[in-house]
Symmetry: C2
Subunit: 359 residues, 2 copies
């Protein structure tokens, strides 16, 4: 049987997607070969790739003046690619710090230009919150403003899209496709696939086309957005199987009713889990209510010596990968699009039984 | 039914590997989740990753002073990573030109340092051959000498490992694991996975550990071999599913008897095909005998107006992807490790029937 998988990433994929992939793994649509054995330049594969892009454009309502790129290397390679592509002649950008992932982006950007950091978190009655963008001290000459919408490790998320003069660049790795989004408010969006899109090894970049032509001379050719856009992300062989699987996920998401429909379910899921935690004396979440992530829910046990037992008993109940990130400890339930409401209900039921037994 | 797939890449995978992957796609070893839904930092996944590396080390007899990296971005990203990692303070390297892929490596390397090019092909009675390394004019201060062992598009291959003073760097994308190899003769080997290793989206780098600490300051952090080596190729989330599939391919190759055993079969396959072409007036191959690729066999038809029909009839006979690269035209049969002898026999039988009908 399939377990409920609360892994932060590589994360759960919809069972229906895996079943479809399984059914055609050896023989894609009667062609006698696997889709992963097909040339990326074949008519059949290009149709799959283009359909995936069309579905993503449809799901996120992406305007025509944005390029959609299917790349490799993860969000972390974009930490380099973004400054190399976008710092431009000002060679300056603002980066908003909200946790471990935005910090990694900052460290890498600083290797390429003048980076001004805005420390945006603050304490509200013992809980962590994000300062609204009107309170940020932004630079006058920034080529862009970078932020991480949802900090996967900290479980802290922007409640709204920041307002800035310079183009907004967002790491949406762990929140893309979870919530409707006005793409036109962004200069660039990027996301590693391994949370809401597909398997690890694929990275989506959505970039406004007027930002494409200002790369630094030392940029590796494959990292140039303009070159990838001109070649439909096939400057070299892309991660064809991951791209195909992403396409199946987009198809599945459309069948669920799209991003608005999944957002309602995501709110139901996160409200159920946070609601249970808040009424409990046994569990606690460290984030202020308006900035709680709807995708990653970290929580602690009143008695941290029970953590190992909690994880063991959870696993026995087919509730997997609830350990917090190694850098922060505690527990974390990642409840991405592919984790169903029943999975969160099963987790809450388990948490309640555990608290009653040990609390 | 499964067809015989002669695609140059992404290429055929062993049917047994795909069957294994299919059987455990939704539920890996009874864990209740797919291997692609597992954290790369989980005990289970790390065991899979380490086993794949151990099997590759075993298959290629890789000495202990070499690091084995499982990266993303394809061989083309290595065209940038190699000069950024290895040019060192001399900022100079020799690159051997033998065709389209070595040419791409040269163009990218020239963006980073002083690159001396050796044009190594020459004409032997109307056939293309590679000049032996003792005839090359190498630089005195080259940090390394780069060559492409097997030009996938041209179907031209080195018959032996070149002899150089500077460390040898080889693109083995389309020949790795096809032939026994003395790794100790190389400074660095790299290969995109999508020919003899696994699906596209994984790149193997094997690098001698004394070459690791001379990176250029502008190198994107993820491209630093030393950093990837220090983090067991998990500086960020690797392409976990591709890595797993590569592991299955390595396991399969061990079951076949390893690289020596597959090399014998590869020789049988390529001898069968070249032998048939050579005795035919209808088909021709443009490469001199000692430099014929054992993996990629380009051939032309005496009457090029029959090419379209050839491809149509081949496809009807379940012999797929025989068109030559779009830049050179003609035909090409890629006969990687996963293409069985029976497949090559079926191709030769078909070619013979076609020649008899139309010749």
């Amino acid at each position: 049987m399939r377990a409920y998988n609360f892994c932060a990433g590589p994360a759960a994929l919809p069972t229906a997607v895996l079943e479809k992939a399984q059914s055609e793994l050896l023989n894609w649509q009667g062609k006698g070969v696997s889709i992963m054995e097909m040339s990326h330049r074949s008519k059949d594969y290009i149709a799959v790739a283009e359909q995936a892009e069309a579905d993503l454009r449809n799901l996120l309502n992406i305007p025509n003046n944005y390029k959609v790129l299917f790349l490799q290397g993860g969000a972390s390679l974009q930490f380099s690619a973004i400054p190399l592509n976008l710092l431009g002649k000002n060679n300056q950008a603002d980066y908003v710090h909200t946790g471990i992932w935005s910090d990694k982006a900052i460290k890498e950007a600083k290797r390429y230009g003048n980076i001004h950091t805005i420390d945006a978190t603050y304490d509200v009655e013992g809980k962590m919150a994000i300062r609204p963008s009107q309170d940020w001290q932004l630079s006058e000459n920034a080529s862009y403003v970078h932020y991480c919408d949802n900090e996967t490790i900290g479980g802290i998320q922007f409640g709204e899209i920041p307002t800035t003069t310079a183009p907004l660049v967002a790491d949406l790795s762990s929140s893309i496709l979870s919530t409707p989004l006005d793409i036109s408010k962004f200069g660039l969006i990027y996301a590693g696939a391994q949370k809401n899109i597909g398997p690890a090894g694929l990275t989506i970049v959505i970039v406004r086309d007027d930002l494409l032509d200002q790369t630094k001379p030392e940029i590796p050719s494959l990292l140039k957005y303009s070159a990838q856009a001109d070649n439909a992300s096939m400057l070299n062989t892309p991660a064809t199987y991951s791209w195909y699987l992403a396409g199946l996920v987009f198809e599945w998401l459309k069948e669920q009713g799209g991003v608005e429909a999944i957002h309602k379910i995501n709110l139901e899921k996160s409200n159920l889990l946070y609601g249970y935690i808040d009424q409990s004396d046994f569990y606690a979440n460290p984030i202020a209510q308006p900035n709680r992530s709807i995708m990653n829910v970290p929580f602690t046990l009143a008695d941290s010596s029970l953590e190992k037992l909690f994880l063991q008993e959870a696993e026995a109940a087919h509730l997997l990968n609830l350990a917090g990130h190694r850098s922060v400890g505690g527990m974390r339930a990642s409840i991405y699009n592919a984790v169903p409401l029943e999975g969160v209900q099963a987790l809450v039921d388990f948490m309640d039984q555990f608290a009653n037994k040990h609390g």
